[in-house]
């Protein structure tokens, strides 16, 4: 079992990390990721703190390149026909364990979590800030329907803002549907609604059509959260809750022309692709950030892998955009 992170060790580690970051601020740029950014003539990013995860930016918001995914915290494991895994995740990831996981993520340099907004998990996020002094940033998608008038959607956006959410995006499930129905006006309204609250506002999607349509219609999004994974895993052809990016090559090709930051999600195809393979694929293919679902005991190892991958990236086809 992984060592538990108590509040004391969490605070100690956070303080030490801050001190390390302060020391590193004046140092020369380090890490291949920063060099790659230079080579691609992307907007300058602040150098990554020594010994911490490299970071990028969405607007003014600075984010670690690895973002803690929310599906394991909300127990949506997408475990194919193994329904018991949902229950097992729920019994393992109790509220207390989720709090420990958030602390472990921060202690390892992950400064952002992204998830949707079911009431109970949101209450745990709030508890983490209020009771544990947690600083992890939130990128959250409201799950309310984006309908004409946007009443319910606006309520959820307002609630998120009141809770201190740092960035908001349109849920991929909604965006896929809206774009499929040609309702780009509602996509635009959802984006503007969050933007009007002064936070970065993004669009999530599983379908590449969403990004294509948003670019075509010049939707004013600050970033995209788009699925990306290859198909080299056994259950890829199962056609049962096992594929979230149906056209990775087309996605990579199109995203080369997209100048907004791209957070890739479902990068491990919900657990079938090993972390190193997944991270190499998405960062080489152009993603600026990788959303990673992790249990507490996986975080340390995944961060070590991410640092190694980011430090050893070949020339990216797409410049860093965030």
């Amino acid at each position: 079992m992984t060592g538990k992170v108590t509040r004391r060790t969490f605070v100690n580690r956070t303080v030490m990390a801050s001190a390390g970051a302060a020391l590193a601020m004046g140092a020369a740029e380090g890490g291949t990721s920063a060099k790659a950014a230079d080579a691609a003539k992307a907007p300058p990013n602040p150098p990554a703190p020594q010994n911490s995860l490299p970071k990028g930016k969405i607007g003014e918001l600075e984010l670690s390149r690895i973002i803690l995914g929310g599906n394991l915290l909300t127990h949506f494991t997408h475990s194919r026909d193994l329904r018991y895994v949902y229950n097992l995740a729920a019994h393992y990831n109790t509220d207390e364990k989720v709090l420990e996981t958030l602390a472990a993520a921060e202690a390892n340099g992950i400064d952002t979590v992204s998830m949707h907004n079911p009431p109970h998990p949101m209450s745990v996020l709030r508890r983490y800030r209020k009771e544990r002094g947690g600083k992890i940033k939130w990128i959250i998608c409201p799950t309310a329907a984006a309908e004409p008038g946007m009443a319910k959607y606006a309520q959820e956006v307002q609630q998120l803002i009141d809770d201190g959410c740092e960035a908001i995006y349109l849920w991929g499930v909604r965006a896929d549907g809206l774009v499929g129905e040609g309702k780009m006006d509602l996509v635009a309204k959802a984006v503007e609604l969050a933007k009007a609250q002064g936070v970065p506002s993004g669009v999530g999607c599983h379908s590449l059509d969403v990004v294509v349509a948003c670019e075509k219609h010049k939707i004013n999004a600050d970033f995209y959260i788009k699925t990306l994974h290859h198909h080299n895993y056994p259950s890829a052809k199962l056609n049962y809750d096992s594929m979230w990016c149906t056209n990775p090559e087309e996605t990579v090709a199109f995203m080369k022309g997209v100048q907004k930051p791209w957070i890739a999600f479902k990068t491990m195809a919900a657990g079938a692709i090993p972390p190193k393979d997944a991270l190499e694929y998405v960062f080489t293919s152009g993603a600026d950030f990788a959303l990673f679902g992790m249990f507490d005991y996986e975080i340390g190892e995944d961060v070590r892998i991410a640092k190694a991958v980011l430090a050893g990236l070949p020339q990216r086809a797409r410049p860093w955009r965030g």
């Binding site: 079992m1 992984t2 475990s79 194919r80 026909d81 193994l82 329904r83 018991y84 895994v85 229950n87 097992l88 995740a89 019994h91 393992y92 109790t94 895993y233 056994p234 259950s235 199962l238 056609n239 049962y240 919900a270 657990g271 079938a272 090993p274 249990f295 005991y297 996986e298």
Partner: protein, 330 residues
């Protein structure tokens, strides 16, 4: 989260169970699947819980119709290409949680578990007995190789007997390979455990193992044979189940119809395992399919939070079974 069972609750539950079973009394004759087993409790063991699960018999060993499977306790989850699930199971099923699971199984009327000799699991089982007063019976397969002379295998059998195992069987992974080539070694492995005075069985994924054992009149007391249908998304499509078992497409019983058909002719007790295809078939479906098609006992891997519901499920199924083509053999 499931309510945690401390030792006090466990002991209290056991005492209540003992009283209930004493009231239940005993009657003669071979039990039908849905009936309580006939014989009085084995000497020295407290009887089963008040509302005990129906039981059957393997030799003189009285066994609940639902047995606790060992793969979730040893974290061999067989979770297709989702390797992380094994790790998650390991982080959930800590030694302490396994002890709770064993106690909970007993409380719910499950009186037997089946497991292989992985890691230090037998030490944990002993702890359950020696420190927690647990009574759950052990049916265990040694994992030592089966070679001429059976030296390693013999040592492991002896250790298990010394540790108090209640029945032993030949691991399916071994018998699948041996049955077609060295049936003499299968016979020796069976006789070796039998000579120790415990029921001795043969495990198998391949139907050919059972067929060879029957053909050669291997002196086994029971069979532990995989059994599940192929109606789940990760199952093999027609023509794909060309091996004994595989992780993807995921199956452990390649020929369910042939298995059901052949087992009709087999007069020894049959414990069906992998009845949920390692988690893809719901218990209601998997248990019913196995019992309707001839299995005498159901081996089911369960986390602590699943046991009560699975016990309710089998309690509902057993009295509602149609007349089986295969009579109850255990």
């Amino acid at each position: 989260m499931s309510a945690e069972i401390d030792r006090r609750v466990f002991v209290k539950g056991s005492v209540l169970a003992s009283a209930g079973a004493a009231l239940a009394g005993a009657s003669g004759g071979r039990a039908a699947l849905g009936q309580q087993a006939a014989s009085p409790p084995a000497s020295g063991n407290p009887p089963g819980p008040q509302a005990a699960l129906p039981r059957g018999k393997i030799g003189k060993l009285e066994v609940s119709r639902l047995l606790l499977g060992g793969n979730l306790l040893t974290h061999a989850t067989h979770s297709r290409d989702l390797r992380y699930v094994s790790n998650l199971a390991a982080h959930y099923n800590t030694p302490e949680k396994i002890l709770e699971t064993l106690a909970l199984a007993e409380q719910q009327g499950i009186n037997t578990l089946v497991i292989h000799t992985a890691g230090r699991i037998v030490d944990l089982l002993k702890r359950h007995r020696e420190k927690n007063g647990g009574k759950i019976q052990w049916i265990i397969c040694p994992t030592a190789p089966i070679e001429d002379g059976l030296a390693q295998y013999g040592r492991q059998v002896q250790e298990l007997v010394d540790d108090g195992v209640d029945a032993i069987y030949l691991w399916g992974v071994r018998s699948d390979v041996l049955a077609g080539r060295r049936i003499d070694l299968v016979a020796k492995a069976v006789n070796l455990a039998k000579a120790q005075g415990v029921p001795s069985g043969v495990g198998a994924h391949a139907l050919g193992v059972i067929q060879q054992c029957e053909k050669h009149k291997i002196n086994a007391d029971f069979y532990i044979k995989t059994f599940h249908h192929h109606k789940y998304p990760s199952a093999p499509k027609p023509g794909q189940a060309d091996d004994n078992y595989r992780e993807f497409p995921a199956y452990w019983c390649g020929k369910p119809e042939e298995t059901a058909e052949f087992m009709k002719t087999v007069e020894k007790p049959w414990i069906a395992f992998k009845v949920m295809a390692a988690g893809a078939i719901p218990p209601q479906d998997g248990f019913r399919y196995a019992l309707e098609n001839g299995a005498d006992f159901i081996l089911a891997g369960m986390f602590d939070f699943e046991i009560a519901e699975d016990v309710r499920t089998i309690r509902q199924i057993l009295p509602s079974l149609p007349t089986r083509a295969r009579p109850c053999r255990g």
